[in-house]
Amino acid sequence: MLGRTRRWIGVYLDMCFIRWANVRNEWYWYVILGPLFPTALLAFLKLTGAATDPASGLYVTAGNCILGIILGPMQGLANDLAWGRQRHDLEYYDSLPVSKLQLTLAFASVSTVFILPGMVYTLALGRWWFGFPLRPSLLVLPVMLAAALSMVGFGILAGVYARNIHHANMINNLTMLVVMFLSPVLIPYENLPRILQVTSKFLPTSYAADAFRATLAGRSDPAVWTSLGVLAAFGAVTLYLATRRLDWRTE
């Protein structure tokens, strides 16, 4: 049992290394481009008066961070799988005694790690501009992890069903619209239309945003645990379906 676990982790780490190698030669693009989107979005929200005080500042800054945590691994995986299928690169993994779960977790893990510097930068910028206090509770780390994994199953679905990399990009743009505007990530729940208030309950992004804001403010009450549980369950079920039930094979 111990040997099998060690082997499983070893394979997972080797897969992480492959994904890491994909970005190690071009890390500077991540450093340069990573902070651009959150900086532009926070500046836009501040200059248009959408966020002015510390409370609304924390709302949009945390929303901005959670956007990256959720979308980064999901979109990265959709692109990687679509590109890999298009170029038949996935046949390499298919021919080895490795599981789809190891592959997807490794790719999602590296994508998540690459989001962290941009997230820290966004929090620092938001705190400087809006002056909100930061008292993160210990639950912030599991919340981030669960948030990162919550939509990975959808990333696999997009990557497996996209006909090519361009198709995957279009699907990614669509999911960004859904996450940004159809759930209370950047727009407060109260300001959403009634119908979206109902549908947002079915999106893991709502729970991720709520839990992340709460933990950044130092809370670790039952509401946070509930959101964390929903996120973890959502991620586990979708990941199971995508890696065990979905046929990845192409014709």
Binding site: V11, A21, N22, D89, E91, D94, S95, L96, R249, E251
Partner: protein, 314 residues
């Protein structure tokens, strides 16, 4: 013992195209088996089914007695398949890719590093240095992909066009390595290739596939016995009077191949007479080139299956 046993294999795509249409064949353990056929014949579909990447529509594939579809682990355990390029590892160096593939195939870290180092040293892959595979030329990438397949010394190797894009010296290196593995480790090799002339040097048994069906199956010798066995005398003449004299060669079927370029097809038992007449009647002075050829695997391929589609492609 059978390595693979294929029975009634059919693969029909959703588009309605039947890529494999009722295939029955065995691949014996320790043999070098070639799968030949023109583009679109169904070779790649068959290979993908053999390694479990594609499920058959009907029929069965057994690997060492285990059903490939039901127990895919048996394929990843015994079979090493590397597609034409290892694009998934495009950002790794050759050394990293070899060691990592060994580890993913179950080798211990130190053992994988050692074998990767040996292979890289033996075949000059260290010359690629720290350049990632994606930055190497097509031929270099193909060569690395070939050596990736050898990590952890698998009992069965499935190779898809292993010598495409390679220069002549590397092509020879690949064929020699395959022969060596088969001879010293009894490695079963399943080879998909268009390069019939070169493959003949290593293949023991051949299946020719066309339009999803196996049109010929047997050892190279058996298949050669089924085609036109006449000896071919290929001449390049430099004098018109010598060409005129060819009309008197009643012991041979004479075919023009080009300007001054002729082919004489003669029965085996009259080959010696025909050769004597070429040397005597035409004379060495009128011959720029003279070759004596027996049927090759390429002739088998062209006559027993691959020819029709190949002619259309050209």
């Amino acid at each position: 013992m059978h390595a693979y046993r294929v029975r009634g294999l059919v693969r029909r795509y959703r588009s309605g195209v039947v890529a494999n249409d009722g295939l029955d064949f065995d691949i014996e353990q320790g043999e070098i088996f070639g799968l030949l056929g023109p583009n679109g014949a169904g070779k790649t579909t068959l290979v993908k089914q053999l390694i479990g990447l594609l499920a058959p529509t009907s029929g069965s594939i057994q690997l060492f007695g285990h059903d490939v579809v039901a127990t895919r682990e048996v394929v990843t355990r015994y079979v090493s398949y590397i597609p034409q390029r290892a694009g998934a590892l495009a950002d790794l160096t050759a050394g990293e890719a070899l060691a990592l593939t060994g580890r993913l195939r179950g080798m211990a870290r130190r053992e994988a590093a050692l074998q990767a180092g040996e292979l890289a040293e033996e075949f000059g892959l260290t010359a690629f240095g720290r350049r990632p595979l994606g930055k190497l030329s097509g031929g270099e990438q193909r060569l690395v992909a070939f050596y990736l397949a050898l990590m952890n010394r698998p009992p069965i190797l499935v190779m898809d066009e292993p010598t495409n894009d390679l220069d002549p010296s590397h092509r020879r290196q690949v064929w020699e390595k395959l022969r060596q593995l088969n001879r010293e480790q009894a490695t079963t090799v399943i080879l998909v290739t268009h390069n019939v002339v070169e493959a003949e040097k290593v293949l023991e048994r051949v299946g020719i596939i066309n339009r999803g069906r196996i049109t010929a199956l047997g050892t190279v010798g058996e298949l050669k016995a089924r085609v036109d066995r006449r000896v071919r005398l290929e001449l390049r003449l430099n004098a018109e009077e010598a060409e005129a004299r060819l009309a008197e060669f009643t012991c041979a079927e004479v075919r023009p191949l080009g300007r001054g370029h002729w082919l004489l097809l003669v029965e085996r038992n009259s080959a010696r007479d025909a050769i004597d007449r070429v040397m005597g009647d035409l004379g060495l002075a009128s011959l720029d080139d003279f070759r004596i050829l027996t049927p090759t695997l390429e002739d088998v391929y062209l006559q027993l299956g691959g020819g029709e589609r190949l002619a259309r492609e050209n």
